[in-house]
């Protein structure tokens, strides 16, 4: 059902383990049910936590009475917002004013702002009892009008969520580059698009959030077993709020059941667990159930694009655009308003237009807080740029393929500096499109259209693309708030030789299925001249391993750059130390005369002079008498990879915001049932270019997964609210995620344009799903002949389109 077509690689494939589809090291335990996910972690005497959640989208809390719940046998205790406000400070806000002024605690204090917001936490002896007791907690509410539609947020008289912010506006910024007026003057046409809407959904990792938190009273330290995918971020949110040093918060993870960005912002719940573990002096276990997750965790950013104007030449050359982006953050700024700048990593999309103005407004609404979701903030913007391409093609009566090719940034333009100072490292978008079109048999479409017509169907072909910008320059946060003291990026790896010669790698990341153990082992094996089987990569993350830095985590398509570069750096340090040691042992042989191979180090010209790694480890760790005094070797090498970034120009909002730009181009072929509006994806191609692929099979797996999520989001998945702020898709009963029968035939293809900016030529990847959402929109537009303005197109919407 799937075929892989490889275009000729533009560079010679590196020899060795890198570039091979080595089978994953992590699979065995997962296939045997021996993975350790957060809900598998148990402790003697632990109490189970259940949250009492708000049934109201917006209400004052007038009274809370936990006495009936606490009176039950087996209930260990409760925590209310009032206690939280006394014990902690509000979470640090990333935003400048007015968003900076909101007061965000880990439980609702005085007011609830979305259905499902945690109000009280109850801990009891069993899971069932905790839920029983939570039903006895009495909370009186005084309901307020709910604000559900972000477009009404700034209307006079609109319900206000945060009085501290003086209104619902959280953050606003004007981005302007080039000379838009001259572009409009030069244009033959101005294409106007009144409104485009990118809907609210997320990746719904199959495992929801959770934690088991232990408090060590003696040293005042918490051990937080959790599946949070960005512990570095959780720590800087939690430490100041809890008024403790970061070393008091030990984060431990082994296996994580999917993250996709959705597991970054569980810090409020983790604080509640911490406070209760201390208050009750026992381990506290929290498992978030599916409905809880849908109600309260990490929705993707819903965004509108209003009053778009596009300056176009008659031949389809695009000169520039202006638009107003309105972003719905939900009730709290848990990672926001970073979405207000992250999109700017891909400002022009894949196209050469140079004159761009975008006004970005983010507002609060009575809905679940948003936070990163696979393709975070770029997906919305890239969907917009792709939609513009197809709407322009539609308006001008041009072929969408031709419009794209006319405007693509060309391979010879690379590295390409965008109007806002980002540098696209490498790529050949036109070649990718050709490959994708070939994979769906684009040349045969005329016949297939006729065939579909004969069956009462209408065939449509659509193209979508994403730039999977990876490895953030956190300096971009200063465009949001100039006061912030973040910039650059980093990641850590530690590689050591143990006493019996075992190669042990410790990462700083928190993988959720990306195969880090495997690809890290491949990189190590190539440098040390051994097999990946000989490399032991520790599973998961423990902040007490001291192999992490401030930006450590698994997010934002960066492991292939940050993680593997750190692994490479640490392994090269280790290799140098091994040679230094061997040189000394061999009696002053210079490093250049030595090589690593066959699980040891040897003299190039005298292979019999061989020191196995086991001997190296033993000598340094256990048998080191007589070594030269000045031999600076530990065989335990920690390397911090720091990508080459400058702080962006805050005034001009200009600078390089990301290191690498992987690209994906997808083509979808749909058949629309004219009578019902239902449609089927009958053919699909996804072409990826993420530079050098360390493990092509893992890369292809990421492409497939992102594609499936895109198709789910395009057709079915939506967090839809009613006018009172009730979530209408609170679990998988109504939030339909694709299953095996929903999947179309898929052809994948790849080209490799190595990044000139990274040590391994790699680019981070994995977030290419936005291409699929757009490809479906474009295919529906092609089939129906009607302009598609929404990213979510369930059958009813397509039927309505055809009624126009």
């Amino acid at each position: 059902m799937s075929e892989t077509t490889l275009a000729p690689a533009p560079v010679e494939v590196q020899k060795g383990w890198g570039g091979q589809s080595v089978k994953r090291k992590e699979d065995k335990r997962l296939l045997q049910g021996e993975g350790v996910f957060v809900d598998d972690v148990k402790r003697h005497g632990m109490g189970y936590l259940h949250f009492v959640r708000s049934p109201y989208a917006h209400a004052h809390i007038t009274r809370i009475d936990v006495s009936a719940a606490e009176a039950i046998d087996g209930v260990y205790g409760t925590l209310t917002g009032e206690e939280v406000a006394a014990l902690t400070d509000p979470f640090f806000q990333i935003s400048s004013a007015p968003g900076a002024n909101i007061k965000d605690y880990s439980l609702a204090v005085g007011k609830v702002r979305y259905v499902g917001e945690p109000v009280v936490a109850v801990v009891a002896e069993t899971r069932e009892l905790a839920r029983d007791a939570s039903e006895l907690v009495e909370v009186d509410y005084e309901p307020l009008d709910a604000l559900v539609d972000a477009r009404r947020a700034q209307d006079p008289g609109a319900p206000v969520l945060h009085d501290d912010a003086g209104g619902n506006l959280m953050w606003k910024g004007l981005y302007s580059w080039g000379d838009l007026e001259s572009a409009f003057a030069e244009a033959d046409r101005v294409v106007k698009i009144p409104e485009l809407h990118f809907h609210r959904f997320n990746s719904t990792p199959l495992e929801c959030d959770g934690a088991l938190v232990e408090f060590n009273r003696g040293v005042g330290q918490w051990t937080i077993h959790t599946n949070n995918q960005f512990p570095g971020f959780a720590a800087i949110m939690m430490g100041p709020a809890m008024k403790v040093g970061l070393d008091k918060l030990r984060f431990v993870t082994q296996d994580i059941g999917g993250g996709f960005g959705n597991k970054i912002t569980s810090h409020p719940q983790l604080v509640v667990c911490c406070l209760l573990a201390r208050k009750l002096n026992r381990p506290v276990q929290w498992t978030e159930w599916r409905t809880d997750f849908h109600l309260s965790m990490s929705h993707g950013n819903e965004r509108w694009f209003h009053d778009t104007e596009v300056a176009v030449k008659e031949d389809g050359t695009l000169l520039g655009f202006r638009t107003k982006a309105l972003d719905d953050a939900g009730a709290w700024l848990r990672y926001e308003p970073l979405g207000g700048v992250i999109w700017a990593q891909v400002t022009p999309g894949m196209y050469r237009w140079r004159h761009i103005e975008l006004e970005f407004t983010q507002v609060a609404t009575n809905k679940a807080p948003v936070s990163p979701n696979r393709g975070y903030s770029r997906m919305q913007h890239l969907w917009f740029t792709e939609r513009v391409m197809d709407i322009v093609a539609h308006e001008l009566g041009l072929d969408p393929v031709e419009v794209r090719k006319r405007n693509y940034i060309r391979a010879e333009d690379m590295p390409y500096e965008t109007p806002n100072g980002c540098v696209y490292d490498s790529g050949d978008y036109a070649a990718m499109l050709d490959l994708a079109l070939e994979l769906v048999g684009y040349d045969s479409m005329a016949g297939r259209r006729a065939d579909a017509e004969a069956r009462g169907k209408r065939l449509g072909v659509g193209i979508g693309s994403t730039l999977d910008s990876g490895t953030n320059n956190f300096g971009q946060s200063r465009l949001i708030n100039p006061e912030l003291q973040f910039s650059g990026n980093n990641e850590v790896a530690t590689v050591k030789l143990d006493i019996f010669g075992e190669i042990v790698v410790t990462l700083g990341t928190t993988p959720q299925g990306q195969g880090h153990e495997t690809t890290a082992a491949q990189v190590v094996a190539d440098i040390l001249g051994c097999s990946p089987d000989d490399v032991h990569v520790r599973a998961g993350h423990d902040s007490y391993w001291n192999s992490h830095a401030g930006f450590s985590g698994t997010y934002a398509s960066q492991f292939a750059v940050t993680g593997l570069s750190a692994v490479k750096g640490a392994t090269e340090m280790l290799a140098a130390e091994i040679k230094k040691l061997a040189g000394a042992v061999f009696g002053g042989v210079p490093e250049e005369a030595l090589e690593l191979a066959d699980g040891g180090v040897r003299i190039k010209d005298n292979p019999d002079a061989f020191l196995p790694f086991m001997a190296c480890g033993a000598i340094i760790n256990a048998n080191n008498a007589g070594l030269p005094e000045d031999l600076d070797v530990t065989l335990n090498c920690r390397y911090v990879y720091r990508p080459p970034f400058e702080v962006p120009d805050v005034e001009k909002k200009f600078g390089n915001l990301t290191l690498t730009y992987a690209a994906q181009i997808h083509v979808a072929v749909v058949e629309v049932d004219l009578e019902t509006g239902s449609y089927e994806i009958v053919d699909y191609a996804a072409v990826d270019d993420c530079g050098k692929r360390i493990n092509p099979q893992i890369v292809e797996g990421q492409v497939m997964g992102a594609t499936a999520q895109a198709l789910g989001a395009a057709v079915h998945e939506t967090f839809e609210y009613d006018e009172d702020g009730n979530l209408l898709t609170p679990n998988f009963y109504d939030y339909h995620v694709p299953h095996a029968l929903d999947m179309p035939p898929l052809a994948t293809g790849a080209i490799e344009s190595p990044s000139p900016f990274t040590p391994l030529g790699t680019k981070g990847m994995g977030e290419g799903g936005g291409a699929g959402i757009h490809a479906i929109c474009a295919a529906i537009q092609d089939a129906t002949g009607q302009v598609v303005t929404d990213s979510h197109n369930p059958f009813q919407r397509v039927w309505e389109l055809m009624q126009r």
Partner: protein, 152 residues
Amino acid sequence: MNVSGERTFAAPRDTVWHVLNDPASMAKTMPGVESFDIHDDKRWTANVKIPLGLGGLKMKVDMEKVEEREPEFAKLAVKGNGVGAIMNMMTSFTLADAAGGATSMAWAAEVKILGPVGSMGQRVLQPIVNQQVQHVLTALDGQVQEAMGKTA
């Protein structure tokens, strides 16, 4: 969801008003009432059990009279809790004299279901509301007749 209608009772307005505003009489109109507490003349609580194909739904129903103009208008805030969701109902009724010494009652209820019930829950709860309204109206007839009997 809004439900409304009109009903004529063969009884004078005062009698109907009395029944409508007497918690004890009202309790008897509610189907499946297992217990009933009167907190004061404006606030009552009923524990009800609604029979359904899936098994009985148990609800705690709080009622509060939020507005009244004797003997023509009253407004009740009703909140049902305990089915994984909250059912909020603002009910009002307006009484007027009708021909032949009868009383006409125009009633309206605005029903809101709050909570993570999804479409399955909506399908369970909405028919309950309709069913309950019908039961209450039928039972009201009986209560009014009984009150007529007492006064006669």
